[in-house]
Structures are given as structure tokens and as C-alpha cells.
């Protein structure tokens, strides 16, 4: 029997498969389809201090082997998430969840992390400093080592749970940003968020997306994600959750060889709602095919 277990900053996961924030809602839609307790964990929709409607529609465009979204962090706000979503979630998910937090100022990040830190259901906090879909904030914090350091430090001061900083791929030097987060005390890193992309409608001759640009993700971005995980793994010693374009068990293994301890699956959930279940089921036989006994042993194996 192969071993798919993995630990992430003390959090023991049955397997490394985690649906990515923003593509799994709060889990209910998928719980209708299969028992989501089979997942390693899951990262809930990016949550901010205040409720947000997000960007105008259209918010979605299609690409070759991928998609663009400009949802813009639509969420009911941290209070409602704690009061309403988490209790509802408890009924269909008994494992620890990853709380994905966004903000527009350090104060907001700190506010949300402080609130969520007390929640037992939350296993770790994933701080999104890389959302390309909101102005003045989000991605801005993730594009310079200095601001990444500051947010991380401020959050670490008020939280007890492990804090994972989620980084943007839209940077010249992701390694320097990763190192800044590590220095500021981050317990781990999630990478990558979406690439900034765009499509234009030939009929209207205008951008497809109301907000013009948006976050590009899906299978197409896998080689970029893999490269960044590989680079960052060489530079830091904290664990990495790898994501970007994963769509099959082979991709999970490739990402772990590059240096990820766990993986997230985003866009693929939207087109195949059973994909996480399928990958979890395929993983053992794929491990056997490539003569892998334990996933713990392959993390960073390509270095």
C-alpha cells in the first residue's frame, strides 16, 4: 500500500489534495456530489472585512486550456463567514479547513486573521496578497518584498494558527518575496495565484471581461507554476502548497517533485466538479506506476 499522507505545519492530511480558494465556494455545492471529507482539506472563498459584491459582469472569459476570472473577491464579509458559513460547513466537512483571507490594508488583513484565528474549524490561514482583481490592495502587497514582509509580520503577531502567504506569479523575482515572507515568520507559502491575462471579443471589439483584465488560470499555466515552486523551494525552508493548472494525479506528483508538500486545484473544479475525488482515487495507482511508496519522500525530489 502506498502512503498519501502528508503533514503541513503540524496539520495531518490524509492526502495532499486541496480545492483552491474561489473555486469551491464554501464546499456545499460539491458536498451535493460527493463526500468532501475525502479531501485533504479545502481553502474557502477569499474573505474580507466587509461584505463585497466584487466586480461587474462579465467576469469570466475562456482561453486555450484555461480561463480568466475577475470575480473580485465577492464574499459576505468575515463576520458572516464566521457566524453563518462555518457552522453550515461543519455539517458537511468534519476536517480542518483553510481560511483564505484578503484585505485592502494591513489593518484589514490583521482584523480578519485575528477574528478567524479563534475558530476551531480552521486548520491554517492562507493570506492572499496576490489577487489581481482588486485595485489598491491585493496583488500590490504581493509584488514587493517589503510590503509582503510587513503584512506577514503584522499577521504573525496576532495569530496562533499557521499562516501561509499566497503569492502572485506576476512578479520579476518571486524568490525575494518568498524569502521576505519567511523572514517575517510565515509558516508556509501558497503559490501561485492567477497570472494577469486578458481576452478581447472580436464581435464587439472590446475586452470580454467588464474589468478588462483578470486572473488567468487552468492547465495552461502549469509550467509557470511548477517553475516558481521549484525556484522557491530552493530558497526557503518553510513548506509550500503548490497550485496552478493541476488537472490530474501526474500533475500532483510533478508539483510535489518540484517542492510542494500539498497541492491545490482551482479552475479544473469548475469544469469537472468531480476532479478532486478522481485525483484522490487515481493517486495511489499513479504512485505505483512511478514506483513511489510515500508522498512524504518525494517532496522536492527533482532538486
Amino acid at each position: 500500500m502506498v502512503d498519501t499522507k502528508i503533514t503541513l505545519s503540524g496539520l495531518a492530511l490524509d492526502n495532499p489534495i486541496i480545492p483552491a480558494s474561489g473555486t469551491f465556494g464554501y464546499g456545499y455545492e460539491y458536498a451535493e456530489l460527493y463526500d468532501i471529507n475525502m479531501l485533504g482539506s479545502f481553502s474557502f472563498k477569499g474573505t474580507t472585512k466587509e461584505p463585497r459584491f466584487g466586480n461587474p459582469t462579465p467576469r469570466i472569459a475562456e482561453c486555450s486550456e484555461g480561463m480568466i476570472n475577475s470575480v473580485g473577491l465577492q464574499n459576505p464579509g468575515i463576520e458572516k463567514v464566521i457566524e453563518e458559513e462555518l457552522p453550515k460547513l461543519k455539517k458537511c466537512f468534519s476536517k480542518k479547513v483553510i481560511a483564505n483571507i484578503s484585505g485592502f490594508s494591513i489593518e484589514e488583513y490583521v482584523h480578519c486573521c485575528e477574528k478567524i484565528d479563534g475558530e476551531k474549524q480552521v486548520g491554517l490561514i492562507e493570506v492572499n496578497i496576490s489577487c489581481p482583481n482588486v485595485h489598491n490592495g491585493g496583488m500590490a502587497f504581493g509584488t514587493s518584498p517589503e510590503s509582503a514582509f510587513e503584512v506577514t509580520k503584522a499577521i504573525k503577531e496576532i495569530t496562533k494558527k499557521p499562516v501561509y502567504m499566497k503569492l502572485s506569479p506576476n512578479v520579476t523575482d518571486i524568490v525575494s518575496i518568498a524569502k521576505a515572507c519567511e523572514e517575517a515568520g510565515a509558516d508556509g507559502l501558497s503559490l501561485i495565484n492567477t497570472l494577469l491575462g486578458m481576452r478581447i471579443d472580436l464581435k464587439t471589439k472590446k475586452p470580454v471581461i467588464a474589468n478588462k483584465m483578470g486572473g488567468f488560470s487552468g492547465r495552461a499555466i502549469f509550467p509557470v507554476a511548477l517553475r516558481m515552486v521549484y525556484q522557491v523551494y530552493e530558497a526557503v525552508s518553510i513548506p509550500i502548497i503548490g497550485m496552478g493548472g493541476i488537472s490530474k494525479a501526474e500533475d500532483v506528483i510533478e508539483m510535489m517533485l518540484a517542492g510542494a508538500r500539498a497541492v491545490q486545484i482551482g479552475a479544473e473544479n469548475l469544469v469537472n466538479p468531480y476532479i478532486c475525488k478522481q485525483i484522490i482515487e487515481d493517486l495511489p495507482k499513479t504512485m505505483e506506476k512511478y514506483k513511489i511508496e510515500s508522498l512524504e519522500n518525494i517532496v522536492g525530489g527533482a532538486h
Binding site: 466584487g54 469570466i60 469544469v271 468531480y274
Partner: protein, 243 residues
């Protein structure tokens, strides 16, 4: 929601760029007229949402207009081809509000969901009338199918090549109705909203990521709060719409 494999039974051109696709498969999750399905197509990353035009125990009928790569691909499907489809998506129409003389208004690719709706209303003994709006006569389809149901059918064409010249609102002016149901392009929905003299339900389209409520790709604001067109819609009540 259910994911299953359907088999193409027939795929036929009904009118200019308009096709009728008859599929067999597991329709058990489809519960109401006005719902839609989401179809995986080779070479397209995202699924394609198409309204349920008609269904029974094991047959599903869709009508679609060729407008881009995905629908182009669909137009080439032939008998026995298999399709991966998510069924049972969307809220569907609320039939309980129809009153005795409901008016059904469909424009172009918005006509299909009106067919099953008309069927069900008539089964309930309602005296339903239908307005079918097209740009030109070559686009005309399903006139006879609606007539066979026993509904009164009004045809409008923008260029006057068939029926009443003008938009569907032209026909609305001379009809009295207890309630209405409408599906079509957004400018038409807006015009109907303004012209309408009763309450009614509107079916909306939006570019979708998932089609089942998980991604927030298709949100809109309503008087009753934020709604996802795919899950809380595509049908909204007249009273809740914010244009």
C-alpha cells in the same frame, strides 16, 4: 445537479444557424422548465450552458444557435456521439404564479425554454399564449410545435418578413395576460420589463465559470441581495430586478 453521459439521437438544423439536439440519458435531475444544462465539448475549456427546451424520462431536447467555437462544434455532432453533461442546473420557472392566462415571450435563442414551460402550463389547464420574436423569417422555428400544444402563437420579426413587424413588445401591446414569462437577449428583457402590465419572471444569461454556484462568476445584484445567475437564477422575478 448530476454529471452524466448523454448520447446524441438527432442533431438537425431547424432554421438559419439554429439546431435542435435530441439526447438520450439520465434526465432525473431536471425538475422544472427554465433550468439549464452545462455541456463539456472537446477543445473548449469551459462548459457551454444551454436551456432545457424539453425533456421526459430519458430524452432531453436542446435548441442552440451557432455563435462561436463551442456551438460550431455542437453543430457537427452526429447520432451516437457522447456528451458529458451537468443536468439540473438553475432554479427554473415558478409555475404557481402564472394565473389563468399567462403570456410566454421568447426571443431567438431565448425561445427554447418556453416550449417545456408552455407544455406544463397547458397540462395544468392554463390558457397560455406565446410570442416568438425573430430578426427575420429565415430564423423562424417551432411555430408549429407551439401550435400543436394548443397555445395561441404570435410571431414578430424585426424586418417584418413574417408575422408582426417589430419586436416582441409590439405583439404584447394587444394581448391581455395574467402573468408573463420571458427569455431572450438583455435589450429585449429590458423592453419587456417596461412594456409589461402584469408581474412576471425573467430568465437571464451570463458568462459562466462553473454553472453550479461555486465560483461567483455570474453574480448579479437584486432587490433581495446578490444572486448567482446559475444557481439562484437564471429566473428572477420582475419585482427583484435592478437594471
Amino acid at each position: 445537479m448530476k454529471q452524466s453521459i448523454f448520447t446524441v439521437e438527432n442533431n438537425e438544423c431547424l432554421a438559419k444557424n439554429t439546431y435542435e439536439l435530441i439526447l438520450s440519458g439520465d434526465t432525473s435531475d431536471i425538475t422544472k422548465p427554465g433550468q439549464f444544462v452545462n455541456i463539456k465539448l472537446d477543445g473548449c475549456f469551459l462548459r457551454r450552458p444551454i436551456s432545457v427546451c424539453d425533456y421526459d424520462d430519458k430524452t432531453l431536447t436542446l435548441i442552440y444557435k451557432v455563435v462561436g467555437r463551442g456551438t460550431e462544434f455542437m453543430s457537427k455532432l452526429t447520432k451516437c456521439d457522447k456528451l458529458d453533461i451537468l443536468t439540473g442546473l438553475g432554479n427554473g420557472y415558478d409555475l404557481s404564479k402564472s394565473g389563468d392566462t399567462p403570456l410566454l415571450i421568447g426571443g431567438g435563442a431565448g425561445i427554447p425554454p418556453m416550449y417545456k414551460l408552455a407544455k406544463e402550463l397547458i397540462k395544468e389547464g392554463k390558457n397560455a399564449a406565446v410570442i416568438l420574436g425573430f430578426n427575420e423569417e429565415q430564423e423562424l422555428f417551432y411555430e408549429d410545435k407551439f401550435k400543436e400544444l394548443g397555445t395561441k402563437v404570435y410571431i414578430t420579426t424585426a424586418d417584418g418578413s413574417k408575422g408582426i413587424k417589430g419586436f416582441v413588445t409590439e405583439a404584447m401591446k394587444n394581448i391581455s395576460y395574467s402573468y408573463f414569462y420571458v427569455c431572450g437577449p438583455e435589450p429585449m428583457l429590458r423592453a419587456v420589463y417596461k412594456e409589461s402590465i402584469a408581474e412576471g419572471q425573467f430568465s437571464f444569461e451570463e458568462r459562466m465559470g462553473c454553472g453550479f454556484g461555486a465560483c461567483m462568476g455570474c453574480s448579479c445584484k437584486t432587490k433581495y441581495g446578490n444572486k448567482r445567475i446559475c444557481k439562484d437564477g437564471p429566473v428572477l422575478f420582475k419585482e427583484e430586478i435592478i437594471w
